[in-house]
Symmetry: C2
Subunit: 345 residues, 2 copies
DNA sequence: TTGAAAGCGTTACCAC
DNA sequence: GTGGTAACGCTTTCAA
């Protein structure tokens, strides 16, 4: 295996100085055309490629490189968060380096380390579901590079974050179902030891409590929906289980739109009319939710704005001295067809 | 604004040598505990952060950094391509730096330059629709870092690429409609001066030609569908136009699934039955296409495999001497409900 | 038009 | 235990 060509190699072979080679390659003035031609020619032959590390070191320019870690990159919400981050990064001439944890905390840690090794000037992370916050994220804070956590929160974390108020949103969703006359509201949720699934379930329970409706444990089905390709199926199966109950629900609050799609698929196969026999609210406002039938009532998650704010926070944190930036977005309910009985309209 | 702390700063303040400071910070043996404590303490005070550029330079380890440029990052196909790229990159300990051109060739060029400045060891690019190939991409080839072009191709480009055979796929789609008894097949396409839109239109025309059906120019409506949020609307409007014709079509080949969704929306609003009154085939196999009604017949685009292969090509190209890697994926038609008349089933 | 040398921040070797 | 020095690959004065 041959070593990588450097300026000296070219200089030696041509009997000129390193300086001259550098000049030729960088298209500087003050160089003999013939010399230049020879250098360029040899550089091509030797496949010379500049060592950017050395260049940056010499120029003392740390290109701001921000590491972004997301659980699933081709999930619309996360992809949109990334889009938001990039839109701001582009304005600030920052470069974004991405990693996909695939909800695997080992992988998350590995990526984090790679990023640190590469010398990122900040980290924006939507933690994996089972992320070991203490072990993966806290140590970075100690290195004093800005960290912004998105989407999923941990107890006792005192740093920068951009979240959504899933509790309130879920509460709103269930309240909406109650307001529309549904009484037996089930929840197809996510087994999530951390914030999201838990918060949405909490909001669901709180709304029922407030309406003085007892919680029916049979009405709560929790799934592992990490794999977005399976989420629809999970929703389908959970609905099947609910409808095997002696007293099935008359409405479902689904933890994501994908899960809600599964509910709709089941309903269509079994001639259950949504919204007349069954009210349904999803969560995310996936593009699809407006084009399936019935059009799905859901919670709007503005990933783009979250991403933009996350980058802003990173940016502010970079130039501030330990100040902490935090924001929890309130989410809107988008009422469509799946939750309003036609007879009531 | 204070300069970043370096080893020398700490050494000077403590009256020790740089070497000693380095040793303390790197937890090496052979160092007085007290000295070490002091150094660590001061390092923390001064917020010392190692300069990874210098470290890498010293260690002679170039972290492979691959630049990926995509037109739209939160488009499912591109996000999945990115996922494919990252899955392979992760195996090779490569880092991925992303940019979103937003179909803007100016932006594309800027990102490209930023990437080159940052010293990426390769570029994987899905060019913007209006990308100035000569100006943006060719110059990079001259710098002899591997470039892999995805998804959209240019005449006379002789480098590495991973494409899909859009011509064949479109031909297949239209042939399928013909086979199912549709005769008056329209095409809602994309104004695309480059490969994709053009190729799909070519395939459409070729299939009709082969079936000895004259091309009806009124049946071809081309839209600018760069903005994915508007694509559905464009499909809707185009369909409206088609149905204003004295002799409307009995089938539509849509250039993307989003456009096809627009067709379905129009059909539902106007009581046109798909597939009975109107056959429909989309393109992309967006997740949604399997869950709308009627379920959409479409062309499957395997972005994940394309991304993986693109990275493999980059990798091979990195260690080969000018060898060129090219692949054009043949695409499968997924037959669902929208293109098969019930009476014929 | 060209070259020598300093220096970017770090680590590793060798000497003390 | 500690410090001097060379080296990583490059650019940029300054001098010739």
């Amino acid at each position: 295996m041959s070593k990588r060509t450097k300026l000296k190699d070219i200089a030696d072979r041509l009997g000129v100085s390193i300086t001259t080679v550098s000049r030729a390659l960088n298209n500087k003035a003050d160089i003999n055309d013939e010399t230049k031609r020879e250098i360029l020619e040899l550089a091509r032959q030797l496949e010379y490629r500049p060592n950017s590390l050395a260049i940056s070191l010499r120029r003392n320019n740390t290109v701001p490189l921000v590491g972004v870690i997301l659980p699933i990159i081709n999930h619309y919400f996360f992809a949109t968060v990334l889009k938001g981050i990039m839109s701001k990064a582009h304005l600030h001439n920052s470069l974004i380096i991405v990693g996909e944890s695939l909800q695997d905390e080992k992988k998350e840690k590995k990526i984090l380390n790679q990023f640190m090794d590469q010398g990122v000037s900040g980290i924006i992370i939507a933690p994996a579901r089972n992320s070991n916050f203490e072990e993966n994220i806290i140590p970075i804070l100690h290195k004093r590079i800005p960290v912004v956590v998105i989407d999923r929160m941990y107890d006792n974390y005192k740093g920068n974050y951009v979240l959504t108020n899933d509790y309130n949103a879920a509460h709103k969703a269930v309240q909406h179902l109650l307001d529309n006359g549904y009484k037996k509201i089930a929840h197809i949720g996510s087994v999530d030891d951390k914030s999201i699934g838990t918060e949405r379930k909490r909001g669901y329970i709180a709304a029922l409590h407030q309406a003085k409706i007892d919680i029916n444990e049979d009405y709560i089905i929790l799934n592992d929906i990490d794999n977005p390709d399976l989420a629809i199926e999970k929703g389908f199966n959970a609905t099947a289980k609910l409808f095997e109950l002696p007293n099935p629900p008359d409405a479902i609050f689904a933890v994501t739109d994908d899960v809600a799609i599964g509910v709709i698929e089941y309903a269509k196969e079994n001639n259950i009319s949504i919204p007349d026999d069954l009210g349904l609210v999803g969560f995310s406002n996936a593009k699809m939710s407006n084009y399936i039938r019935p059009r799905l009532t859901t919670i709007e998650q503005n990933g783009f704005a979250m991403g933009q704010l996350a980058f802003d926070f990173f940016n502010k944190a970079s130039s501030s001295n330990g100040e902490v930036f935090q924001k929890s977005f309130e989410l809107n309910l988008i009422v469509r067809e799946s939750s309003v009985q036609k007879s009531e309209v």
